[in-house]
Symmetry: C2
Subunit: 432 residues, 2 copies
């Protein structure tokens, strides 16, 4: 007997049904927005990450040498792959390019609740527009996807910022500040004490007075204060862009879910503009549910024409935690419209009924294991069959079948030639 | 600039739309039959193949050592994984277990038309029934999936046999025959000359007279002749089982697609009963499109209770070749219901119309890139928009919008408050 690998999950039908319903809902929203599905490979050249990504992601790669001597890796994220695809067909693709896909990725991480080594994301990106409407469309899609799942503004919020605000404010200090270190401190600020946070800011080059002032300024999230404090073109432009994105989000119906949160920095190096993270409003799921933002330099860094880009990638594990917490996670069970039960040698007639019901699009099972009446009924119950059609030798001798409603247990006989007849979805009620 | 890896394909939206339509059709058929979707990992312990599979598949593994020192492999097929999953929950799962999934697999093979190193399959299996109805249900599902794709009996056939017929006939010779070698010869017989075929049979232990006689007997596909020639319990039981499966297939509507073909041996070692392969009836696609069969011993070999099993796994690359050859492959293009075109500062009203149309479930794009009228119209054309709704400043001043039918080029104005109004899917025709 073999075991699965740690961090790699098997999904049995009940749980898979809930996941599939969730994925279908999210992808349906992407379709309606005109995002187009793409299909991407599980393996890429490892250099796509080792050449330029941060240490953390490189350390977590499932990388190896293939039989042809290529240095390859299971892809830990989608963005470099879509960048490669955009570059490969840059001339033919009409812009903006709006793509989505749902698939697994792999990182050798510590396994914990909501974090596996194999994890699923739906990536949604727009390439070829630097306009705030593109950022806002990403936010609007994410909001629609979440509300389609049954979530509301009571359950989630998008904490939104702009990559240049933190950097620009830090840059405006006359002292020599290590911006990267200071942003890292901001990123941690939610998980550590104020004193520890200020210590880190001081280590990055601020005085204690400056650290306290900076903390207060950023925590307030007041864009006008931030702009006048920094008084630099970079910060003014960032604040203006963020306000334009929020204005477009208002028109697109997503503004109500957005909270300005200047602590939001996002870990990945390639973000260049607006960044945002989705959080559980109640804080019960403490980590970020997912995040996204603008990454205008990535395509060029992959050898393409300069191409602005913005995207988001909900991860299905954390999304499931949020939905479960909010009480909107689908039932983890299979559903069945009909079970066609055979008693005696009635296979031909049972098969005829089964086929006619399947032709109408219903989920229909019938006996393929030669089981007894009781075993078939137990099985029908285990698959949550709504209606059982009993095709018995004796009934058939009278040209009848029995229709049993599984919830009430009620049953009755009806003429076999009338089942299913011209009814689209005949149930016990239709004959009672 | 980075390249993708040989044998790993990128699917851009047009081709992906055709693939998705195909996968949806196949999976919808699986749903109607009551097969339940499962989710399975990309990586498994390599021992699941190196312990017992044939040399060929082991040589083709993408195997490596992970950071935890585990000897892992990208999965080259699904069957060992589902066997592992059945064994892990053997007691709780109600039987028969009917599972399906669509996902990629990986083998380091020679790349050729219809064969990539990353390839997609829809696996459909029944565990827990040794009855011929289970084999027939697999055949019936495959037939329904293919006819749902628009294929007919003129396009495909299932060549069906039973694993024990060839072996049993060879065993019935008094001379000492190497059965494995002889079956391998039969497997090759379609691709080599008769003389070469007979030479291989002689190498396996038959005389030339016996080789000719054996060739004629097997090629005839006459089950009665085969049964009386061998005159052993093993062959009699195999013939009887095959006939029962065909009888059930008749009731299930799949018999018409089945041709008895005793040359059909299937490469994989784990088959134990009925085996079949789907072929292009015209022979234009010369290789097998996909195959399946019964593998009753596999679950036990994975440490589980003896559990009969039967399954099939259409591969999407060869299936695409068949559909293209038959002229039923979907158009490789994206479709769009509406493009909402903005002229001047009309974002709020355009957004209102866009949202209302999306709420009705339509695929709707609008400008997120600040493009000109002409550029937006070109873009709408490139995404095959059916209707363009032009929201212009001047029209809006008159409380109007313009509805343009993209096929005819016809357009007209209508009152903005009436669009979309209470119409589910308003087009030019509704206002003309």
């Amino acid at each position: 007997m073999y075991d699965g690998i740690k961090g790699f999950r098997d999904f049995y039908p009940g749980e898979m049904a809930a996941r599939r319903a969730t994925i279908d809902t999210i992808e349906d929203a992407a379709h309606r927005y005109g995002f187009r599905e793409i299909g991407t490979p599980a393996l890429e050249r490892a250099e796509m990450w080792t050449d330029k990504s941060g240490d953390e992601i490189v350390e977590e790669l499932y990388a190896f040498e293939d039989q042809g001597g290529r240095h390859v890796t299971l892809t830990p994220e989608l963005t470099p792959t879509v960048a490669r695809m955009v570059v490969a067909k840059q001339q033919e693709l009409s812009k903006p390019i709006k793509w989505f896909s749902t698939r697994p990725f792999w990182r050798y991480e510590q396994v914990q609740q909501g974090r596996q080594r194999e994890f699923y994301q739906t990536n949604v990106d727009i390439f070829g527009s630097s306009e705030p409407e593109a950022d806002a469309e990403i936010l609007a899609w994410a909001a629609d996807a979440l509300t389609d799942l049954g979530l509301t503004g009571d359950h989630f919020e998008f904490r939104i910022s702009h990559r240049d605000i933190l950097g620009g404010v830090l840059e405006s200090y006359e002292t020599d500040v290590d911006t990267t270190e200071a942003i890292r401190a901001v990123d941690k600020s939610g998980k550590i004490s104020t004193a520890e946070y200020h210590d880190l800011l001081v280590e990055a080059g601020l005085s204690y007075d400056q650290a306290a002032e900076f903390d207060e300024l950023i925590a307030s999230g007041d864009l006008e204060d931030v702009e006048s404090f920094a008084d630099t073109e970079r910060v003014t432009a960032a604040v203006e862009n963020l306000q334009h994105v929020l204005g477009a989000a208002e028109d697109f119906g997503a503004r109500e879910y957005c909270t300005i949160s200047l602590e939001t920095a996002r870990g990945l190096d390639y973000y260049t503009g607006v960044v945002f993270e989705c959080f559980d409003s109640t804080g019960e799921v403490s980590r970020s549910i997912f995040g996204g933002g603008r990454y205008d330099d990535l395509i060029e860094s992959f050898g393409g024409q300069p191409t602005p880009a913005v995207g988001v990638a909900p991860g299905h594990a954390t999304l499931a935690l949020l939905c479960q917490r909010a009480g909107v996670w689908p039932e983890e069970e299979v559903t069945t419209d009909y079970y066609v039960l055979q008693v005696g040698d009635t296979r031909a007639e049972a098969a005829r009924i089964t086929r006619e019901l399947r032709d109408r699009g219903h989920v229909v099972e019938t006996d393929v294991a030669g089981r007894s009446f009781g075993a078939q009924l137990d099985y029908a119950d285990s698959i949550n069959a709504e209606t059982v059609v009993i095709v018995g030798e004796q009934d058939l001798a009278n040209d009848e079948v029995t229709i049993k409603d599984m919830e009430s247990g009620d049953q009755l006989q009806t003429a076999v030639e009338e089942f299913p007849g011209d009814r689209e979805r005949p149930t016990y009620e239709d004959f009672a």
